[in-house]
Structure formats: C-alpha cells, structure tokens
C-alpha cells in the first residue's frame, strides 16, 4: 500500500511535495492481508530530525514519532512509507530515506530503510519495535521482501548477510490472536 504525506497543520512543517510517492515502485509485499484486520492509511511528516507517522484507522488519526539515525540527514523527509501489514492491534510499516552520502560518492544513490511495529488503540499509537531493515551506509540488505503472513500473523525477514545489530540472517516477528506483538525468539 502506497501512502501520501498529509498537509501541514499549524504544528507540522508542510512536506506534501517532499513526501509524495517516489516514481519507482516499492518492493512488493507478500502475501495478501487478512480480511479480518481492518486496514487504514499511513502517512508521514518530518520535523527536527524526527519522522512522525500518522495512522488513520478508526474515528480519529493517531500519531507516533519514530527516530532515524545518522545515516539520514536531519531534515530529510521519508521518500516513501510502505505498509507491510495490519493486525487488529498493530500496523507494520517501512519508512525509507535517501542515505547521507559519504566521501567519494559513497551511497549517494543509496537508501536507508526502517521497519516499525506500531501498537494501536482507539486513541493512541505506540512504537513497539524498530529496526534497521536495509542500509547502504551499513551494508544491510534483504534477501527478499518482508514476507507478511496474515493467517499466521507473522512477518519473516531474511538478510543476505548477518544483520550487524541482530547478528543473524533471519528474524520472524509474531503477533498474538489479538494482534499484539509477541516477544522475539
């Protein structure tokens, strides 16, 4: 699901143009989402080096701030925000940014991507998991797109090389029957 950036209120910097979807298609998400989980819409804005995700599902939108890292320039907005999947109580999102280039054009064409798991209630959103999904600056690369299984309520991640922080090639994120995030293996 592609997203768009929402127009600024008095409190937010307007970044509608900067957050418009990139011309290139995002990595495909597999498999289809469950009809049991109500879906919504996710958009983003950036202010003071922080990205705020706005999740619209239900009566009113809820916001959650997510941090980037030094591989993303402070005022750079997300190039795109892709929803991986929904559960009754959570949404899984990937926000993508152009890399801060290093010397000798290192990663000038690169991207930095963050996976976020956001717990949702009627009136609030809470970031429950955040990890660096892919990175040009840190040479982190998925072997395949994130595999969301709505029936099993799992998200399978596989990297070409061991993730430098997780120190493993694969990770499965699981949700319980209510859609809440379960502890990692």
């Amino acid at each position: 699901m592609r997203t768009t950036c929402w127009a600024a209120s008095l409190l937010w910097v307007f970044s509608g143009l900067a957050c418009a979807p990139q011309p290139s298609a995002p990595r495909p998400v597999t498999p289809p989402r469950s009809a049991a989980a109500v879906e919504g819409k996710v958009s983003s804005a950036t202010h003071a080096g922080t990205t705020v995700l706005r999740i619209e599902r239900g009566a009113q939108p809820v916001d959650v701030a997510v941090e980037r890292d030094a591989s993303v320039a402070a005022e750079t907005p997300a190039a795109r925000v892709d929803v991986i999947g929904w559960t009754d109580q959570a949404v899984v999102v990937v926000d993508t940014y152009p890399s801060v280039p290093g010397g000798m054009s290192l990663c000038q064409a690169g991207e930095e991507r963050f996976l976020r798991v956001v717990a949702l209630s009627e009136r609030s959103a809470r970031l429950t998991q955040s990890l660096k999904l892919e990175s040009c600056r840190q040479s982190i690369e998925l072997q395949a797109p994130p595999a969301w299984d709505a029936q099993r309520r799992t998200l399978d991640l596989r990297w070409l090389q061991p993730h430098p922080v997780l120190d493993r090639n694969a990770l499965t994120i699981r949700f319980d029957t209510r859609g809440a995030l379960l502890p990692a293996d």
Binding site: A18, S24, G103, S105, L106, E111, S139
Partner: protein
C-alpha cells in the same frame, strides 16, 4: 653559562614527504654534548601526537618517530639542564597514478577501487600547499575518509588513507558476493567488480533473469551519459518511451540539487558503475 642552541635545522624549515610516503631525514642538532632528550609534538588541525626520544649525543633524526604524519613539528631538546625549542614544517607530495595502482595491485580484493579513486579524487591526496585535502564535510585525503573519523596517519599517509577506504570497499564487495552468489548462482569477476562499484554508490547492478536465467545489468535503468550517476527508471510512466536526450532536456535543470520526491530522475549506482568502469 653557555646557552644550549639548536644549530640545525633553521626554524620553519620545510621537510617534504616523498610521493611514495617515505619520510626524509629530519635531523636536529645542538651545540651541546652528552645525552640529549628530545620532546616532540606534531600538530595539524585537530590532530596531535607527542613523543620523547633520547640520544647519546647532540643529534637526533625524527623521521622514524614521525612516520606517516605531518603538520607542524615542535621539538624541545634538553641537555645538561638546559633546553631549546624549534618548530619545522612537514608537508606531503601527491603520488603518481602508477604508484597508487601499483599499491592497489598488492591488495587482492581491490578490483574497481582504482577506478573510483580516479573518478572521485584523481589520485590527489595533498593540496597545493602540501597538506591533506579536506572536504566541507570533514572528508580527508584521497579517499575522503569521514566516518569513522580517520587517524592522524590515515590523514597524512595516502597509503593508510587508501587502506581505510578499502575497508569500506570490502563491505560492498562482501555484499556483492552475497548477492551474486545467492542460491548457488555463478558470476564472473567482471560482474563482481561492477556489482561492487555499483553498491559503492548505492543499489544493485544486476538482476537475475532470462532463459536460461543469468545475471544481467538492470535493463530498466537508462543513464544520462553526460553525468556521473544520474539516470531514469524506465518503468516510470513519465519516462517510458523517451530517449536519453529528451529526458535530459526535461530534467537537467534540476540536477544541481538532489532529486525531490516529485522528480522522475534519480541517482543510480548502475549509472555510476557504467560511468566509472565503462558500459
């Protein structure tokens, strides 16, 4: 009581490191006799290192102590309870292309890095004043090392600087090997070189397709051959069916800044590899 004097060299004498990083003799001599203690400090910008040496007589060659560094060398010599101080300058000499390529030829997994160095820095490590080149974002030397912050030796020695750059290049090479070799797929040395150079700039060069399947250049990327790494995704409806000339005419006015989300051109590691290695 006679005062200890430094008789050689003259204050602010400049000593120049050779293009192959060899430090020339940097000899200090006093008019004293007996054991001498030499306390030295080398400073350049925010970099500084100090040391102490002793000599049985009144002469000391600092070249071994200051190998691979440069800047302003301050020396205080003490003998028989007296001391004297002097400062001299250490400057560098750019290597030739042959020296750099010969040095890289000793590094087994550096294929393609020489081309990046030629493209990005023309093998220049020092400015006209013989001091290391420093970029606006604190990138030092031939490889513009920034993160992690380079050491004093990596700033002043082009060989140590290249070694630092090769550590980053190795990450991209390892990633290229993992990508090209997944599922037991085979690849050529040239494909590895292109994939590595592409990843240096960002993204992957090859896709697995065809019948029989093989690694081929991503055919969806059309490059602006007048630039170093700008191109277009031809699956974008705004680009499809247009020629390079048409797309350049449309977009070149915005090349001076990174592409916005509304742009239909982009930086491409595929185009970077084609430009650096030849398509």
């Amino acid at each position: 009581m006679p005062i200890l004097k430094l008789t050689t060299p003259a204050p602010n004498t400049t000593f120049t490191i050779a293009d192959d990083t060899t430090m020339p003799p940097v000899k200090f001599r006093t008019d004293g006799s007996g054991s001498h203690t030499w306390s030295w400090t080398m400073k350049w910008g925010t970099f500084s290192v100090s040391g102490t040496a002793t000599s049985p007589g009144n002469e000391w060659d600092a070249s071994a102590a200051i190998a691979d560094i440069g800047g302003t060398l301050s020396v205080t010599v003490t003998a028989a309870g007296q001391s004297a101080t002097i400062a001299v300058l250490i400057r560098g000499t750019n290597p030739t292309e042959a020296l750099v390529t010969n040095y890289l030829a000793e590094k087994a997994e550096s294929a393609g890095f020489d081309k990046i160095l030629k493209q990005e820095s023309r093998f220049r490590h020092f400015n006209a004043q013989g001091e290391p080149i420093k970029s606006f974002d604190n990138g030092y030397g031939m490889c513009q090392l920034t993160t992690p912050v380079p050491s004093f030796k990596q700033v002043w020695s082009w060989k140590r600087n290249i070694d630092g750059g090769l550590q980053l290049f190795a990450q991209k090479r390892n990633a290229a090997i993992a990508y090209l070799g997944q599922s037991g797929r085979s690849y050529t040395p040239d494909q590895l070189r292109r994939e590595t150079v592409c990843r240096w700039n960002g993204g992957s060069y090859h896709v697995w397709e065809g019948n029989p399947a093989a690694w081929v250049r991503n055919g969806n990327i059309l490059c602006d051959t007048a630039t170093g790494n700008i191109g277009w995704d031809m699956t974008d409806a705004e680009n499809a069916g247009k020629t390079e000339a048409q797309l350049r005419a449309r977009d070149k006015g915005s090349y001076s800044a990174p592409p916005t989300a509304a742009a239909h051109w982009k930086y491409s590691g595929v185009c970077y590899a084609d430009h650096v290695l030849g398509s």
